[in-house]
Symmetry: C2
Subunit: 129 residues, 2 copies
């Protein structure tokens, strides 16, 4: 049974995050020792590992929760999992595309700026219209 700081260390999460996940019901409350300290059995450590992985993969906590539920559901169909993943892929693609558009236009106007001591500035001009 690991203490919360040990759980944080092995999972790569912060102590604060772990408490937070408990508070929002992402993981269930761990058992407490007589001094009210939280202690994490293997099953919870595994869940925390799982959440860390999904977070690293770009999912938010709500999605992590859904994935965690599916991971523990023996009756699941992989189609349900794949749907969540495909949705995230679409979302990522859209976000990337939008940022690429922003980047391109910002680069374009920035290139035209001399970047010297004079006040004349095409970047500012682009925003003034």
């Amino acid at each position: 049974m690991l203490s919360i700081s040990q759980a944080a260390k092995v999972t790569g999460l912060s102590v604060k995050s772990i408490r937070h996940y408990e508070q929002i019901g992402l993981i269930s409350a761990p058992p407490r020792s007589s001094n009210e300290y939280r202690y994490y059995p293997e099953s919870l450590i595994k869940q925390l590992h799982f959440i860390k992985s999904t977070k690293d993969a770009g999912f938010n906590l709500k999605e992590s929760k859904a994935l965690l539920n599916l991971s523990e559901d023996n009756e699941r169909s992989s189609a349900d999992v794949k749907e969540i993943a495909l949705q995230k892929i679409e979302e990522l693609e859209a976000r990337i595309k939008q940022q690429q558009t922003l980047l391109a236009s910002l680069k374009k106007i920035t290139k035209q700026c001399h970047g010297d001591k004079t006040a004349s500035c095409p970047i500012i001009d682009a925003f003034v219209r």
Copy 2:
């Protein structure tokens, strides 16, 4: 002199945003009529337009503030403006790159999932480790 909803309409901002910008000191407080309604002179409308443009270009409010200050500073050097823009470009490039990495690995593991009625799922497996 435009009312706040008229100001919102012409700038493309929301009423809520305009009040928010005032509250955080991004724009100065507009004059009020005897009934305490805010009224926006041309100068403020121009500032709001400017902020909308910078926001659309991907800058956050703090950066918008800095750019707005520079836009009104006759003593500015375009180098200062360009520095902010270049910084944002770097930031965008880094974010895009990171998301592309995420996207690539997510696509890779997702492709391996059959997405059928069986429980077997390489996506879940990737998160369990």
